[in-house]
């Protein structure tokens, strides 16, 4: 994985959501923490092109996010809200839909759906209706849908925020075991506590970029002011 | 159409479907319970505007056509397009569009709440009654062996209920605009 921010920042009119940032991300596990409104989600959304930089640019695996739709095949994104990510009634169809949109043929789609369900031991969810699933099950299904198309970078935006303790541990274990590179935004500091690199945002600025221990101390300092 | 607009239209189509599933509601000032689904069509116009309101109805048409029982009373399927009242179903599209079109132009942020509500009410009446009934009555006369005059007279009984719906749709439109404005404002 090679993500480069080259003076990339985001403003909405006069409001600066993210001050220009220059850095390079290559680590396997990267945490992003900060208070609400600190710019951490804006930062994350620059990586998969959901948000375009108002200034500077972001290069992911050699491609500029501003013009590449192809970024989306490399970068998967898991959102906070479990319900709003499964967009079709039955889990299996939801996983298949993403694959269909990427141009796979029916036989390949069926194979890839089975493969990703096996991978996450989620076969029991395949034919369930999304409406009947718990938050944890929905996040699991979302992981299947997003990873089915094979991105090698996964961004998770507060994946455990709306989950109870049991489901939180489940998702934590899942993220730990991912062979893909993971960038995790989290209020739940435990989730990122042993990451090799954690970025701390505050009021639109990157104020710390260090291994987890140091970064979290800095964050606590800021948060308690 | 942007993804957001598509999702807004689809979610409103889902609201229209839900209104068909929920039991008829009683408004304080009318003794007979009314089905809220046609009110949903007016609300699509006042809340989402012309284009998205129209797409919401289009999506409902597709749902009916493919065999889902989404019309109130559990009706659905192609047979729903073969009834004498099908003109009203067809008219929904033009009703939502007209209501949205007028709402976008009549209602402005600077107006008082009362003026905005009146604007929405007029839009809902013109779209949800005048335009809708034009299609409903026209189709009825075309396929059912009654002439225009008879179709017109026969349909008038439903107007008071629809005026009440337009009123509610206007109140809802205004309140939604205050809480979560979505209406595109055009000169």
């Amino acid at each position: 994985m090679d993500i480069r921010f080259e003076g990339a920042g985001v403003s909405y009119g006069a409001r600066v959501a993210l001050a220009p940032v220059t850095l390079q991300l290559t680590e396997k596990r990267i945490g992003i923490i900060g208070l609400n409104g600190s710019g951490k989600t804006t930062f994350a959304r620059l990586i998969n092109g959901l948000t375009k930089p108002s200034i500077g640019r972001v290069i992911v695996n050699g491609r500029d996010t501003a013009d590449a739709k192809a970024i989306l095949t490399d970068v998967g994104f898991i959102f906070q809200s479990p319900q709003n990510q499964i967009i079709l009634p039955v889990v299996r169809d939801d996983i298949a839909f993403g694959l269909k949109s990427h141009g796979y043929k029916p036989a390949e789609i069926a194979a890839k759906v089975e493969a990703v369900l096996q991978r996450f031991s989620a076969a029991h969810l395949a034919d369930r209706r999304a409406h009947e699933l718990s938050g944890g099950e929905l996040q699991l299904a979302a992981l299947c849908s997003v990873l089915a198309t094979g991105p090698d970078i996964l961004i998770l935006d507060e994946p455990t925020n709306q989950l109870d303790l049991k489901n939180r541990s489940l998702v934590q274990r899942l993220v730990e075991g991912l062979p893909e590179s993971a960038i995790v935004i989290s209020h739940d500091l435990e989730l990122v506590a042993d990451y090799e690199r954690v970025l701390v945002f505050h009021e639109g600025n990157l104020i710390a970029d260090a291994p987890a221990g140091e970064a979290i101390s800095r964050y606590r300092e800021i948060a308690s002011r | 159409m942007s993804t957001r607009d598509l999702v807004l239209s689809a979610l409103f189509a889902a609201i229209i479907v839900a209104l068909g599933i929920l039991p008829p509601i009683t408004l304080g000032f009318i003794p007979v319970p009314i089905t809220a689904q046609s009110m949903g069509v007016m609300m699509a116009g006042v809340v989402l505007g012309a284009r998205r309101g129209m797409v919401a109805v289009l999506i409902v048409w597709v749902l009916v056509a493919i065999g889902l029982p989404v019309l109130s009373g559990g009706r659905g399927g192609l047979a729903a397009f073969a009834a004498p009242t099908t003109g009203f179903l067809i008219g929904w599209l033009f009703a939502a569009f007209t209501t949205g079109y007028l709402s976008e132009r009549l209602v402005k942020a600077e107006q008082s709440g009362l003026v905005q509500t009146v604007g929405f009410f007029l839009s809902a009446m013109i779209g949800g009654i005048v335009v809708l009934y034009a299609f409903g009555i026209g189709y009825l006369a075309l396929v059912s062996g009654v002439n225009l005059e008879q179709a017109f007279v026969g349909s008038m009984a439903f107007v008071p209920g629809d005026v009440a719906k337009a009123f509610v749709a206007a109140l809802v439109g205004r309140a939604v605009m205050v809480g979560y404005p979505l209406l595109p404002v055009r000169a």
């Binding site: - | 659905g76 073969a82 396929v143 309140a175």
Partner: protein
């Protein structure tokens, strides 16, 4: 939400969706080209024969037609009061035959088949830049996915009313229902865009 499709192996089931739709359209035209009571009567018999041969138990077969047939009957009776009986009967027969065949097509054609046909019809419009053909399947999926959530939300709002001793009025229920539902649109749209599902859209 249960669809009106019924599994089976009748002749109608085996005919392609496209053929059935074309026949339905042709039937619609032909029924309105003639006012001959004999022909129209035969049409009703023929379409009824088809409808009752597809494998639906008689009770549910009739139940499906009830609301629509009731409307046809009421309009015919209304017409009878003001027009020559011939006119009313012609209309009754036409609409009944059309209803029967339409219901037969619906009961013997799966949703996926319909969506395929509609998507195909929509492709030329795609070239005109009016819409994206695949959006049809997505839109249908989104509605079926979120209707149960909306119904849950409605119940929750009603319960909140009850807990506060408030009377349930259309405005106090519909407004939060609409706002809460539409607020989700941004998140859902972001999830869709992040998965690259509508790839040709900005």
């Amino acid at each position: 939400m249960k669809s009106l499709f019924v599994e089976g192996n009748s002749r109608m089931h085996r005919v392609s969706a496209r053929a059935k739709l074309l026949v339905l359209a042709a039937l619609g035209v032909m029924l309105f080209l003639t006012a001959n009571l004999m022909l129209l009567g035969l049409a009703v018999l023929a379409t009824a024969a088809i409808y009752f041969s597809i494998g639906l138990p008689a009770r549910s077969a009739l139940a499906r037609l009830k609301p629509i047939f009731l409307t046809i009957l009421i309009v015919a009776l209304f017409s009878l009061a003001f027009n020559p009986w011939h006119v009313a009967v012609v209309a009754l027969l036409r609409l009944t035959a059309l209803m029967l065949f339409a219901a037969a097509v619906t009961a013997t054609t799966a949703i996926a088949q319909f969506i395929d046909e509609i998507t195909l019809l929509a492709r030329p419009l795609e070239r005109l830049g009016l819409l994206r053909a695949d959006d049809v399947g997505l839109a249908v999926g989104l509605v079926v996915r979120f209707v149960p959530e909306i119904l849950d939300r409605y119940r929750a709002i009603r319960e909140a009313h009850a807990a506060r001793g408030l009377k349930v009025r259309p405005t106090t229920v519909l407004v939060p229902l609409i706002i809460l539902t539409l607020r989700d649109a941004d998140n859902i749209a972001a999830a869709i865009d992040a998965r690259g599902v509508r790839r040709h859209v900005n």
